[in-house]
């Protein structure tokens, strides 16, 4: 964690612009939030391949789906709450049912949005996106991974949802780390329990593992950047190696990464499991750090969950 924290939205903005230089088929559509999503980096270089459709999320998705018919790789961008919730029926029908090459990339996921409060803090996007047929769901853990993920989804045909952060996140992956859609990355080996995390919670998991190591508890840390398709093989291997699982995500406890992992474990590898997530409530205004602490999304909460899970073994 030597370099300074950077928001994953910046990684998206920089990489989509870099991709735009070599791939003339990339088009970006925005719901008048390109300043915040960082899609404006692309807009500045490629105004002719950028459309701000105004404050009209349904139209953003419908237009994006139509553009894709002309061979374009279309990135539809806004805040996570607005696109995934307001335009849900459009994502379901125009993008998923019609299987269009549209990438829904949204910033402002989770409570770390901060002062804007609950109406802008998306905590249900993993759940409602992963349940859609044809849709794949990604949540990068840091700026480097956000760049790799942007490239990977541009190169892979079909619908994607990717959540980026407004808050700067510590850089915890390395340039040389692979990024394969649907393949989890093991960041730390351990034998007593595995923490499976995504997004901001990956750095919290590493911090928790470090603290627990001093207490003699050996924690494996897995970065599950792809929530759908979930890496079944990796989850089963973690259960075999460590016998207990803790999931950690900046999302409602229902329906997100924890649920996706639990679905796999119930069918393939039952074992004690704990979930670190927002407990069925909306967020509020505050600094990202205050909100993470208040909603139980810190390393201390992971430490507590790890100890519970080990006791249940």
């Amino acid at each position: 964690m030597e370099s300074k924290p950077i928001a994953t939205r910046d990684g998206f903005g920089e990489e989509i612009t870099a991709l735009g230089r070599v791939n003339k088929d990339i088009v970006v559509v925005s719901g008048d939030l390109e300043d915040a999503t960082r899609a404006e980096y692309f807009k500045k270089e490629f105004p002719q391949r950028f459309f701000n459709l105004g404050i009209a999320e349904q139209d953003v998705i419908g237009t994006a789906a139509g553009l894709s018919t002309q061979g374009f790789v279309v990135f539809a961008t806004s805040f996570a709450v607005f696109l995934t919730n307001r335009a849900y029926d459009m994502i379901r029908l125009d993008v998923c049912y019609n299987d269009r090459n549209v990438k829904v990339v949204c910033s402002h996921g989770g409570v770390t949005v901060g002062e804007d409060g609950a109406s802008a803090q998306c905590l249900e996007d993993f759940a409602i996106m992963r349940v859609l047929p044809n849709m794949k769901v990604i949540c990068p853990a840091d700026v480097l991974e956000a760049k790799k993920a942007t490239r990977a989804i541009a190169d892979t045909p079909g619908p994607f949802y990717m959540r980026t952060s407004r808050a700067p996140l510590p850089v915890i992956t390395k340039q040389e780390d692979p990024f394969v859609i649907g393949k989890a990355n093991v960041l730390r080996q351990g034998k007593d329990v595995t923490v499976i995390a995504c997004g901001v919670m990956v750095s919290e998991a590493l911090s928790a593992a470090e603290t627990l190591a001093h207490e003699g508890i050996s924690v494996k840390v897995v970065n599950m950047h792809t929530i759908k398709p979930i890496d079944i093989e990796a989850i089963v291997a973690c259960v075999k190696e460590t016998g207990a699982i803790v999931t950690a995500e900046e999302h409602q406890i229902n329906g997100g990464l924890g649920s996706a992992v639990a679905e796999v474990m119930a069918r393939h590898a039952p074992a004690p499991m704990e979930m670190v997530a927002v407990k069925d409530s909306f967020g509020e205004s505050g600094t990202p750090a205050q909100l993470q602490a208040h909603y139980g999304l810190k390393d201390v909460n992971i430490i507590e969950a790890v100890k519970k899970a080990i006791k249940r073994k």
């Binding site: 088009v27 002719q48 391949r49 459309f51 459709l53 105004g54 009209a56 349904q58 139209d59 998705i61 419908g62 237009t63 994006a64 789906a65 139509g66 553009l67 894709s68 018919t69 002309q70 061979g71 374009f72 029926d89 459009m90 379901r92 029908l93 125009d94 049912y97 019609n98």
Partner: protein
């Protein structure tokens, strides 16, 4: 539909994905029986297949589906077609293609806010290769459109959104042809043809009745209807 496929649109039933074709987006996906019968009659697929409509395993889904040759976009939820139409039109302009994109909307469907989001977009980007057609049959699922939620003045609404408006008798092929012929002179703005129609036209017991919005006649009713339509 007949005027579009038989007169107005460039299309090749033998090559449904021909890149130069004009596109028709069926936003009112429940008009699937009319779409499928028209496509089969123009040779997009065997008429025999029409008998499989709404049956398990058939391509002919209850609401139009893009796996059917000639169908561009799967719909069924209302208010989706016009945004998709604009996307195609913007993409075509970027690619330097000059085909037209038509979009068939229901009248009740224009109660959806997304239609007006898209209406603003088409005007803003001056999509003069977009033509919307509103089937203004004045009846929706639960009764008369203008009692449920009034659309009037519908033509003025579209005009105020920056569209060129044609109001025609939707049962008159002559009127429709005249409007379609005039499209080429409309530059810098999209066009809408408000086609005034009568639901169930020509069948005495169906005309203007919302009860026939989503149901098929029984064999006796069918025989009577066909006799009246002769």
């Amino acid at each position: 539909m007949i005027t579009l496929y038989g007169y107005q649109m460039s299309h090749k039933p033998s090559d449904p994905k021909w890149d130069g074709r004009d596109r028709l987006i069926i936003s009112k996906g429940h008009v699937s029986p009319v779409v499928y019968v028209t496509l089969a009659n123009f040779g997009y697929f065997p008429k025999e297949e029409l008998k499989t409509f709404r049956k398990f395993g058939s391509r002919l889904q209850g609401h139009v589906h893009a796996k059917v040759p000639g169908v561009e976009f799967s719909t069924g939820s209302l208010g989706h077609g016009l945004g998709f139409t604009n996307g195609i039109a913007l993409g075509a302009r970027m690619r330097g293609k000059d085909f037209k994109v038509y979009c068939l909307l229901g009248d009740g469907e224009t109660q959806e806010g997304s239609v007006w989001e898209a209406a603003m977009t088409a005007a803003h980007y001056k999509l003069d290769h977009v033509c919307a057609i509103v089937d203004y049959n004045k009846v929706q699922e639960n009764g008369p459109v203008n009692e449920i939620k009034n659309l009037e003045p519908l033509g003025q609404k579209w005009a105020s959104f920056g569209w060129h408006v044609f109001e025609v008798n939707g049962h008159s092929i002559k009127d429709l042809v005249a409007a379609f012929d005039a499209l080429k002179d409309i530059r810098g703005k999209p066009s809408v043809i408000i086609a005034h129609t009568v639901k169930g036209k020509g069948v005495s017991f169906m005309e203007g009745k919302s009860a026939w919005h989503g149901k098929a006649p029984n064999p006796e009713q069918l025989a009577q209807a066909l006799a009246e339509l002769k």
